[in-house]
């Protein structure tokens, strides 16, 4: 009995529920993947199942990757776009990021005409959301984090 109590006392504390496990993993993670909807109000356009990745570099910089996304119903191609070097702040249970005047890249090439302004977003253990404008075209994204 004494031995069993000792082992139990020395064991690391592990989360009991999936939610608690997810919160614990969130605190450790530097890369986050979400799947959700992007909306472009000016085009009255929405696109579901858009994959977005956020990759922390250090503690204050984050890159946002958008995969196979379109911003208009007339757009015949889906594009991969990266918003590099956004500022971010990490607190317990939350990562927030902002940016202004960032040149996004496609295929490694900067796309100056579609400069990112008013980027504001947040990552929680459940979701990844942001609002921004590409070359003046406002769009919003809301996705559930994929673990």
């Amino acid at each position: 009995m004494t031995l069993a109590a000792l082992i139990a006392a020395c064991s690391p504390i592990t989360p009991d529920t999936p939610e608690e496990q997810q919160k614990a993993a969130f605190e450790e993670a530097t890369e986050f993947t979400a799947c959700g909807r992007i909306a472009v109000p000016s085009q009255t356009f929405t696109l579901d199942s858009v994959r977005v990745e956020a990759r922390l570099r250090g503690t204050t910089t984050i890159d946002i990757y958008l995969y196979e996304v379109t911003f208009s119903p007339r757009m015949p191609v889906r594009i991969d776009m990266v918003i590099p070097d956004a500022d971010c702040t990490r607190t317990k249970g939350r990562v927030t990021f902002t940016g202004n005047g960032i040149e996004p890249t496609m295929g490694g090439n900067p796309v100056a005409r579609y400069v990112v302004t008013d980027l504001q977003g947040a990552i929680t253990p459940d979701s990844l959301t942001f609002t921004t404008a590409f070359g003046g075209m406002t769009c919003t994204y809301h996705g559930a984090l994929v673990w």
Binding site: P76, D80, M106, G107, N109, R113
Partner: protein, 748 residues
């Protein structure tokens, strides 16, 4: 030229003294068909069969396999494109590309590639055309029939035989042939033949005012013929044929003008050594045919057929094929039974290069216009640019086909009733190695200030296997002047690969790779043309049900009548990608059914002062899809394109024996044929109405010489032999206009 012809004529006609002394020197000895696999089977009696003997070959002026069109009911071999285009339609079946519906066998050896079908036939003594599946005897690619061509052999003669031909006709066309067959001893002989052909062509390219369809052709044949014992006969032959020609005289349907800016042509060399052995003993017969077939060809075409510099195709092939056939026939050990057994095998390897080159206008219209239409819906101020003036899409293929087959046929005889049952197993393995690639420099103005090279490549290998079981069951009833028969049989066309579609697949991958390189993902509208697996297609199979009769009511008269029904599955049809893309491919996309009937009559008469021959034939085939949806339309109930609904042919020749030293015989031949209607597409909204072609020949004949004046399409009937649609444009090829010619034939 004309003076020389008459001098030659006068020299050649000095020997005979009177017509009475003259025999029918041009008629060859009795035809020995014992070596024919067909002759040993019950098929000739129990199937539709057309026999074109030496006399009919000469009066009908059959010089290539295409010349039997309509003479054999239901057979249509349009002369278009180039010598590599050997589209054959029989009984409503056939296709523009892919494997043939009709097998071609020359002196017992099957030609393993239909690119060799269109050739000059020299010294042919007989053509047998089996109408209906060659199924249990011939197997592969004979679901519509078999054309068996027999040529002259040295031991067919007892003395040296020399033949010559000189012909001059419209379009500065020249044909010259010479051959010698020499039986050195009763057990050994040799033969040597050569031919040459030239034409300036009939169709002019308005772009450069030059003839499109000029041509040169030369060939030869060496034959060794030996009878080492009373049982054995061994023949060795080497055939060589070379063709070099302009090609693809396709006119825009809207203007009826041929005008394209890039040269088109075709060159082919075929060498076919073959060894043939026959063993005959106590009624037992053993036939062995071994052959090697080498073909090198080179085809280039302006693939848009317009003066716009859009894109070109070049295709070269280097092909080696080897075949071995053994056939064993046993005579009736008991009165009511006989049987035959055979095995055959072949290997065919083909190395093919098929680069498609997009020229500057093609890059602009087919690649950049499509891409920028999409890009500029999102980025209206930006565009994709390609720096290259030419964009070649290289394609290298290595094909290997190997097959083996075994067949058995039993014949049961019960008085006048005859039952034959045959079964053949065909196994074939097809393998393709491919590598297709393209490199080009591009720039997307939105984000690139410099050009960047993108490389696209697809490579790999793919293999497929086919196994076919081909049964045949036939019943016939003989009377003294008629054989009435019925049969059911299965035939098939081999499966294979579509190299033509690789440029489209590579083009699609190129656009994807280009987009990926820029961080974009394209949506290909027609995803069928993105996967290499689609390049293979399965065998097409057809069941034929036929009833018919062969009648010989009087001496010299033969009449064949039949009716047939064919059900075709996995039909190989040509499908095209949607939009302004460039490829085409064969797919097992359809089913069809055909109802038809055929009749053929031959009548020969001989009288003291004159003799003659009449040959008439008629074929009708109502061939319709029962199921065919290519994604752009449902064509169930529509006529199968390119196959004529009706073919009709009539030839009459009469030879008068003259009591004159100056001229021994005078012959007059008239012929007419009618073909149509031919639907040009699956929609059936475009067709060639039935057309008539009239021909005539006057022959002046001496003991060893004939002088012929002939004409074809005497009424100068305009008609089209081919139509197709490419890149939303309609094109057609006109048939040959009126042709007039002079021939001199020598038989010594």
């Amino acid at each position: 030229m004309r003076a020389k012809v008459f001098i030659l004529l006068s020299l050649l006609t000095t020997s005979p003294s009177s017509a009475e002394e003259v025999t029918d020197s041009v008629v060859l000895p009795a035809i020995e068909v014992s070596a024919s696999r067909l002759a040993q089977s019950a098929m000739p009696r129990q199937s539709g069969l057309s026999i074109i003997d030496n006399q009919l070959i000469e009066v009908a002026q059959i010089t290539t396999p295409k010349d039997v069109t309509s003479l054999v009911p239901g057979v249509h071999m349009p002369d278009y494109g180039s010598a590599m285009t050997s589209s054959i339609y029989i009984r409503g079946m056939g296709s523009r590309t892919g494997e043939p519906t009709l097998g071609m066998v020359i002196d017992g050896v099957p030609l393993l590639d239909k690119n060799m079908y269109d050739h000059t036939m020299q010294d042919v003594k007989q053509i047998q055309l089996l109408r209906g599946p060659g199924g249990s005897l011939y197997g592969r690619n004979t679901q519509g029939g078999v054309m068996e061509i027999s040529t002259i052999l040295p031991l067919d003669f007892t003395t040296q035989h020399i033949r010559g031909l000189l012909s001059r006709s419209t379009a500065n066309s020249i044909r010259a042939q010479a051959s010698v067959y020499r039986p050195e001893r009763p057990d050994f002989g040799w033969g040597l033949a050569a031919h040459y052909r030239h034409t300036d062509g009939f169709h002019t390219n308005a772009y450069n005012n030059r003839k499109v369809d000029y041509g040169h052709e030369a060939g030869g044949r060496l034959v060794l013929d030996a009878r080492p014992s009373t049982e054995w006969r061994v023949m060795g032959t080497v055939n060589a044929d070379w063709v070099q020609q302009g090609a693809f005289p396709y006119a825009a349907a809207a203007t009826d003008i041929i005008a394209y800016n890039r040269p088109s042509g075709y060159e082919r060399l075929v060498i076919r050594p073959a060894l043939r052995a026959e063993y005959l003993h106590d009624g037992y017969k053993f036939l062995l045919n071994a052959s090697h077939q080498f073909m090198h060809d080179d085809m280039h075409m302006d693939q848009d057929y317009t003066t716009a510099d859009i894109f070109t195709l070049r295709q070269t092939q280097q092909q080696h094929s080897t075949s071995l056939d053994a056939f064993f026939y046993a005579p009736r050990i008991v009165e009511w039974y006989e049987w035959a057994f055979g095995v055959s095998t072949f290997v065919k390897s083909n190395g093919m290069e098929a680069p498609v080159t997009f020229m500057r206008e093609g890059i602009e219209t087919l690649i950049l216009a499509n891409a920028n239409n999409g890009i500029q819906t999102v980025f209206p101020e930006d565009s994709l640019e390609i720096r290259d003036d030419e964009l070649p899409i290289e394609s290298h293929f290595s094909f290997l086909n190997a097959g083996t087959a075994a067949f058995h046929q039993s014949q049961f005889h019960f008085g006048r009733w005859h039952l034959s049952a045959g079964l053949r197993l065909d196994y074939e393995h097809a393998r393709m190695r491919y590598m297709s690639m393209a490199d080009f420099d591009y720039r997307f103005t939105m984000m690139m200030s410099y050009f960047k090279t993108v490389h696209t490549e697809i490579s790999g290998n793919h293999s497929v296997y086919f196994l076919q079981v081909l049964p045949r069951l036939a019943l016939s009833y003989d009377t003294p002047h008629a054989t009435t028969y019925g049969y059911v049989a299965k035939g098939y066309k081999a499966g294979g690969y579509n190299p033509q579609i690789f440029s489209t697949i590579t083009q699609n991958k190129l656009m994807n790779d280009l987009a990926s390189d820029m961080g974009m993902h394209l949506t290909i509208a027609d995803t069928r043309f993105t996967d290499v697996a689609i390049t293979s297609y399965k065998p097409e199979t057809a069941w034929t049900f036929e009833l018919g009769t062969h009648l010989t009511p009087t001496t010299g008269l033969s009449l064949d009548i039949d009716a047939f029904h064919i059900r075709c599955r996995d039909q190989q049809v040509t499908v095209f990608p949607t939009g302004k893309t460039t490829g085409r491919m064969m797919a097992n996309a359809a089913r069809s059914r055909i109802w038809g009937t055929e009749a053929a009559l031959q009548y020969r008469w001989h009288a003291a002062r004159w003799d003659g021959l009449t040959a008439c034939s008629y074929g009708f085939a109502d061939a319709r899809f029962t199921c065919f949806d290519d994604g752009m339309g449902d064509y169930a109930g529509h006529h199968i394109p390119y196959a004529p609904r009706h073919t009709a042919y009539a030839l009459a020749t009469t030879r008068f024996r003259l009591k004159s030293r100056a001229l021994h015989f005078l012959s007059l031949t008239l012929k007419a044929d009618r073909t149509g209607r031919i639907y040009w597409n699956e929609q059936n909204d475009c067709s060639q109405p039935p057309y008539n072609l009239l021909g005539a020949t006057i022959t002046f004949e001496w003991q060893h010489t004939q002088f012929l004046l002939w004409g074809r399409n005497l009424t100068d009937q305009p008609y089209d032999v081919f139509y197709f649609r490419s890149m939303n444009n309609d094109f057609l090829q006109r048939g040959h206009p009126r042709e007039l010619g002079i021939d001199i034939r020598i038989n010594l």
